[in-house]
Amino acid sequence: MSYFALRHSGSARVLPGFGLSMGISVLFISLVLLLPITGLFGQLAGLSLAEYWAIITEGRVVASYMVTIGAAAVAALVNAVFGLLLAWVLVRYDFTGKRLLDALMDLPFALPTAVAGITLATLYASSGWMGGWLESLGFQVAYTWVGIALAMAFTSIPFVVRTVQPVLEDMPAEVDEAAMSLGATDGVAFRRVIMPHLWPALVTGTGLAFVRSLGEFGAIIFIAGNMPYETEITALMIFVKLQEYDYAGASAIASVVLFVSLALLLAINVWQGRFIRRLHGGKG
């Protein structure tokens, strides 16, 4: 009897509450994430493979993939550069208003995307402040893919800043100083010492920004102009299908976005895991 009791207590976890917390977590994930995704696939069950293929490769839809992916890529790259710069400024320097700037960084998360969309659209329309000025220079932003990229960049910049910032904070200034004491110029120190540390976080942040941009809807539709084959995004295609009560068609297109996003997130995770193992002493 006591032998079994010992065995049992030996295998039990020291930290209490695993069963309960894990159970609630699984339930929550099931309800909030897995159930809707299952529903999505349920909708697809009504389609044959040929029908599915026909829907997701329809010309107008494919054009929307191009617009979405292209604009999201541009937005992600722009965010990679400026997000890194912002994180750098927020971590490495002290200045008045630093706390305010830091708080503003989260604004795109907090602001309803439709509000952002309307604001951007009025600002960059040819009658708006920026739009009028840019038009006089020969650039049109609103109702082009540039506007789409702009809206995407706005909603996803916090992903880059907030993933790079903590890594930069963790990096002791001593590492910089060591590089300089060994004769490295600022540029060399940045390229060979600082960037390698930031790479994983920067790629993750940029990847998240990209994935987020793929699914963004509210912020974009007002500024996009939504011209078929030109400035229609994939999320709008899903919306259009829904308005036509074509639930299966909407689900089919949604599943494409879902797969691309999942594949990308998974790839980033695997790559980052390998990099981190090396930093922490693995053989990777």
Partner: protein
Amino acid sequence: MSIRLDNIAKHFGATQALEPINLDIQEGELVGLLGPSGSGKTTLLRIIAGLETADHSPTPGRILFGERDVTHVHVRDRRIGFVFQHYALFRHMSVYDNVAFGLTVMPRAKRPSAQDIRARVYRLLEMVKLEAFANRYPAQLSGGQQQRVSLARALAVEPDVLLLDEPFGALDAKVRQELRRWLRHLHEEFNFTSVFVTHDQEEALELSDRVVVMSNGRIEQIDTPETLYRAPQNRFVFEFLGDVNYLEGKVHNGTLTCGDAHLAVDLPDGDAELLLRPHEIRLAEQPTPESHLPVTITAISPVGAEVRVELEADWLAEPWLATVRHADFNRLALRRGQRLYAHPRHWRRFPEATENAEVQTHLA
């Protein structure tokens, strides 16, 4: 390369981290900057390195390496090697790449060939006994090994001066001892000028040719370890360099009295405070006419070459610490709770008015 600091001061905002300091370090010397935290020792080291700049006003200071004025020279051009307390290794690079870093970032004209770099890195790794670890990453090494890598990295560029900021502070006692001996060795073999910062008086005394004792941004004393220990110039230096026992009392007719304790002293009448090192206290079963200091043993720790004995008495504000040789320990059969008499062999006094120490020796 000799180092000369001329009127170097430093403010951080309104607080003065360093009062104007002058310091001459000879070529090939190993100098320890010793002081409690906040004494300005690390700031001074970083100013020598060029990682901080000294105050320009009211009077600008100067830093000379040999004949070269480096006051306004950037850290990367000062030709220094800097070793950080927490190693500051490049974690994403192998040990080899870490050591080679300083060589590979040289301007192309001065950079050695790939073979030369390789040969030099392996020579350094051999010197720090890590040639088998060239392909490892820093995270795969112990703290002591990482600090050796960081030393090899600093020496790779053949610096004029080597600066070490609490180089062994993050390591455990045994490794620290080993690395100290090894650094001393290295220094004797290569004869570079080095300055290191420490808050550990034992480390400073063991390693340095000369020790600079600092407190509150001031240099208190610069001397060889021997002189420093034998002839501390003031109370701070005496207190900082080892354990101190205090005896406070009133002197009347050549006898210092404190509760039921008394001691014959050659001092004028009035209040007096005597300072004693633990090894300057002898324990005996009987008092003498000159010395009647009854104490009780409260703790015994027989660690190392001597036995450390803690003594208490109602005339003492703080317990005393005495060190006794093992032979005496056995002869007196010391045990906790035992009542004995303490006999000072030697004591010091640092009267407030004069900065100079007064020393009296008694053959007790």
